[in-house]
């Protein structure tokens, strides 16, 4: 078994900022899991993992010279999102996007400019129920400013 699974979020930053969505092909997620992950190359990637494996997330800009960093990855079920697992492609509704933007601002002042120091790595816990996708919110920061943070709720981790 592989000890590490890498997930790469490739972002078309200019595209995303222009249409203000990470959908429409502006975000492409892929992983190198040894198991059969589904929806490779989309924002709905379901990465199949095993307890004890290390998962590592990286963001990459399509245009190499555009700054993009992962701002946050959270598994806490968002309000009204508990049942989103089975509803196919999900995206954060306008309300929640605004809320996360608000939060982001508070954080931004303290450590927003040091995101490049962050390593998004963690061990898959043993308590995950096999076969159930655990969706997470991926927040991306693209340069700076009030519209620079975008998030997506559709990717997931799933235990084999």
């Amino acid at each position: 078994m592989k000890t590490q699974v890498n997930i790469i979020a490739v972002v078309d930053v200019i595209g995303a900022l222009s249409v203000r969505t990470l959908l429409d092909g502006n975000l492409c997620m892929v992983d190198d899991s040894a198991f059969d992950s589904t929806h490779q190359g989309t924002a709905d990637l379901v990465t199949v993992v095993k307890p004890g494996q290390v998962v590592s997330w990286t963001a990459l800009a399509v245009d190499l010279q555009t700054p993009v960093e992962i701002k946050n990855i959270s598994f806490e079920p968002a309000n009204g999102h508990n049942g989103a697992a089975a509803s196919g492609p999900a995206m954060s509704p306008p309300g929640s996007a605004a809320a996360s933007k608000g939060e982001a601002h508070g954080q931004e002042e303290s450590e927003g400019d040091k995101l490049d120091l962050d390593v998004w790595t963690g061990v898959v816990p043993h308590w995950m129920t096999p076969g159930v996708p655990y969706q997470y919110r991926l927040e991306l920061q693209m340069y700076e400013g009030s519209n620079s943070v975008m998030s997506i709720d559709s990717p997931a981790l799933m235990c084999q």
């Binding site: 290390v54 998962v55 990459l60 800009a61 190499l64 010279q65 555009t66 700054p67 993009v68 992962i70 946050n72 990855i73 959270s74 598994f75 806490e76 079920p77 508990n82 049942g83 989103a84 697992a85 089975a86 400019d113 040091k114 490049d116 120091l117 962050d118 390593v119 998004w120 790595t121 963690g122 061990v123 898959v124 816990p125 308590w127 995950m128 129920t129 159930v132 996708p133 655990y134 969706q135 340069y143 700076e144 981790l157």
Partner: protein, 269 residues
């Protein structure tokens, strides 16, 4: 910062040639304002480079720099590379057509025909003389202004300058092995196929200066012949390198379990 960084070197070519210095005639920009670069758009840019190291002290990220020289008051670099040649060929074709017309309508030489010939001669433009030193892309070409019109000998002030070329990057940052610059080829026509790039060792924080040698071209007229004379000037800039430890973003410490709630999504919650 795993991303590459671009430093735009914008040169006011005609002023730099007139005053024989790049000081006050160069404007530097980079895309690292977010990371602390200062004096964007001036000649005093200090490029911020944020390095990082792993917990064991080893270097975690290297920075890649790309320098792109641009010229103020020249044909934009985004027009096709054969543009000048294309425009020159067009004037040749026009002149030929006019000559043909002239030949057809006047069978006897006259003052009128001579005036007409002179006019055609003016419209056809002048080719730059090729010398041993100036062989290359610009030699044997007609001189074109920023609008793509050929320029005649008596109106060369309007000529579009060839883009500045960085010919060397050297100085403190290179001598102290902070950055390793080299020139690379690229299929990108915006940078004319060649660009300088460097990797920066971010393990030794500090401010390091470096120099760029930039070649401009001056249009000179000797004995009725035009030629592009290379003029080598230098321009200074600096890198400010900082380095901080990388950290696990989930735990803010070492690697731990992912913060996945113990409740099953969509059922127990």
């Amino acid at each position: 910062m795993p991303q590459q960084l671009a430093i735009i070197v914008l040169v006011d070519v005609s002023n730099a040639l007139a005053s024989s210095t790049l000081e006050g005639n160069t404007y530097l920009f980079d895309n690292m304002k977010l990371h602390g670069s200062v004096n964007q758009g001036t000649g005093e840019l200090v490029t911020a480079i944020n390095g990082s190291y792993w917990r064991d002290g080893s270097q975690a990220s290297e920075q890649v720099l790309n320098w792109l020289p641009y010229s103020l008051g020249s044909i934009p670099p985004t027009v096709p590379r054969g543009y000048e040649v294309e425009r020159a060929r067009q004037t040749d074709e026009d002149a030929l057509a006019e000559l043909q017309e002239l030949a057809a309508k006047s069978t006897v030489p006259s003052a009128d025909a001579e005036a007409e010939l002179n006019r055609i001669r003016r419209n056809v433009g002048t080719r730059v003389k090729t010398t041993r030193r100036t062989r290359g892309r610009m030699s044997g070409q007609k001189i074109v202004d920023v609008m793509g019109q050929v320029v005649t000998e008596d109106a060369t002030a309007a000529a579009s300058y060839p883009a500045p070329v960085i010919t060397d990057i050297y100085g403190e940052a290179v001598d102290s092995k902070i950055m390793y610059p080299a020139e690379y080829g690229s299929p990108d026509m915006v940078t004319d196929g060649w660009y300088w790039s460097a990797t920066v060792d971010t393990s030794r924080p500090g401010t390091y200066s470096y120099m760029m040698r930039i070649q401009l071209h001056k249009l000179v007229q000797t004995n009725g012949e035009l030629r592009w004379d290379p003029v080598n000037l230098t321009c200074a800039s600096a890198l400010k390198i900082t380095s901080e430890p990388r950290r696990n973003a989930f735990t803010k410490a070492g690697v731990g379990q992912l913060p996945i709630p113990a409740t099953r999504p969509g059922r127990d919650a």
